[in-house]
Amino acid sequence: MKQSPILKWFVSREGLYYLALALLLVVILPVALDSFRLNMVGKYLTYAFVAIGLVMCWGKAGILSLGQGVFFGLGGYCMAMYLKLEASTPEATSIQSTPGIPDFMDWNQITALPWFWEPFNSFAFTLLAVIGVPVLLAFIIGFAMFTRRVGGVYFAIITQAIAAILTILIIGQQGFTGGINGITDLRTLMGWEIRTDEAKNALYFVTVAMLFVCLFTARLIQQRKLGRILVAMNAQENRVRFSGYDVAAFKIFVFCLAAAFAGIGGALFTLSVGFMSPSFIGIVASIEMVIFCALGGRLSILGAVYGALLVNAAKSGFSESFPELWPFAMGALFIGVVLAFPNGLAGLYQTYVMPLEDRLFKRKKAEATPAVAPVAGKPNAEKAKDYDPMIDHYSPEKS
């Protein structure tokens, strides 16, 4: 009997990992948690988008960005601007001196909607902007830096500076951005109440669905030659260049990809939390995002999802009981990851759990299929599949 390739993938080991994650997010957590907690998980998951982007950009291609909060924030602000405009109908804002504009603008003596707010009246434009604005900024930064061969720690510092600049800009331009308070009091999305339990549950499942879209996009890229070039570029940039590739173009691409994922995450964050403020996008937030990725395993997109979930859950748990201790716990966690297990949870899993699985799996296989003699002269169609790309491969002796 011939199995379809998709079915085959689902019963492969990698497919089972994805199934396990889907089971956890779609069945177990929604059943086990109340609406409030589930919404929290949804919020954590929006950070997983950033972490997946960082796996591609930092883990695979070796470009450490300490400014992913910028792209997360831009996506989030784009969504918040749309929601704010929808909440600022002339009727709802009739007590303002200028009805029909967001309340914080009115407080700051602004009397007309700024030009760059206008397009956010359109939901279609907003959806485009959620991805487009972060990608455009990433492209400009990437183009300016990578064509000049700026990389490594210099690039990381510049991205961090950009995170600082954006925060200062947003706080300073209170009349246009809502300042330090952010854009608050968001109520409806195209007339749909987003603050009810049902809406929050629905948003959770939208987040999960989008997360899998991003996971599969990242996985597809890893599987194609594109993914192997990203990995190759990380270790031997010159060899890639002298194999005929324009290295800067590939770096710009992966940086834009990470920005796109972060933007989607940011927009979903705004929806799930109901407001957006500069505190989610600054230097500290950006570094936390790197920690999610590092803890989960910077070489594994699935690891990154678990990393974002676990660190955020720990953060909430800790902050509820010992709020003052959380920064220390976070710091200790990061040092621990860097020193003890540089490949994060995914690395630990690969080193300690996978060999156990191997033994289990092999025994089963041996029982199920009596030894088959290897067939000489395989058909050509199968030959091309013989050399599997080493997805998520890493060698334990390398740090």
Binding site: R224, K225, R228, I229, V231, R239, R241
Partner: protein, 252 residues
């Protein structure tokens, strides 16, 4: 463009008046030399003579201060590195630089001359032509049994071969090798000489090498460099007998 299309007597590579200065120090100083199609040229010279810099200049890693490098009618000094590769120049580095995280197969596949743009690399399909080409090249470089191995697990000599294979699969007209047998065992040296002889059948090759035995084995002509300039040029016998070469390089 194939060698046959060009008129007889045209040079494949013409380096003229090439100069590069680093903060006033001229690593390569008004250097000129010419390569015929199918020629095997070896550059020798004492340390610091500027040999590696010449390769860096040709492949675009270093930008020339002045002078010209014409390859098959194209001016290389104005092109970017990847454009020079597409023009048909392949370069191997002195220390083996292969992709340790990828398998031998993937290393060769990455160098396959197709899908070099971002979108091209996304759309690139591992079809039968690619697999066969990779297998053919792997056989030439003695690694056909190790296609599934991560390159990190190869020996030093095997990595050098793999990098040569990565050049071969690009199908360049000109192959530049920087000390291909340095650090190799005697057995590996012999196999490498064999490999180079096979390569030189259908490529123009520019090699930097110190091992005079090896140079004598493979070279059509030898260029001796000293302090960024050409000290002597000609057959191996000619340069070996040149008193200037004996003075600065070979020793009495």
């Amino acid at each position: 463009m194939s060698a046959a299309k060009r008129k007889n007597g045209d040079f494949l590579l013409a380096v003229e008046g090439l100069t590069v200065s680093f903060d006033g120090f001229k690593a390569v100083d008004d250097l000129s030399f010419y390569l015929d199609p199918q020629e095997i040229r070896v550059i020798i010279g004492p340390n610091g003579a500027g040999k590696t810099t010449v390769l860096d200049l040709i492949c675009g890693k270093t930008k020339a201060t002045s002078g010209s490098i014409k390859f098959a009618g194209k001016e290389l000094t104005k092109l970017k590195e990847h454009q020079i590769v597409h023009a048909g120049v392949g370069r191997k580095f002195q220390t083996p630089s292969v992709f340790e995280d990828l398998t031998v197969f993937e290393n060769l596949e990455v160098s396959y001359p197709q899908g070099h743009s971002v979108m091209g690399a996304l759309a690139f399909k591992r079809d039968l032509a690619v697999v066969e080409e990779v297998e053919a090249v792997a056989k030439k470089i003695f690694l056909d049994d190790l296609l599934d191995q991560p390159a990190a697990l190869l020996s030093h000599g095997q990595k050098q071969w793999l990098e040569i294979g990565m050049l071969l699969i690009q199908k360049p007209e000109l192959i530049m090798l920087d000390e291909p047998v340095a650090g190799m065992s005697v057995a590996e040296r012999q196999k490498t000489a064999e490999l180079l002889k096979m390569i030189t059948k259908d490529h123009t090759v520019l090699v930097i090498e110190h091992d005079m035995q090896f140079v004598g084995d493979i070279a059509d002509r030898v260029t001796v460099m000293h302090q960024g300039k050409v000290l002597s040029e000609g057959s191996i016998e000619h340069v070996k007998a040149d008193p200037k070469v004996i003075e600065v390089y070979l020793g009495h």
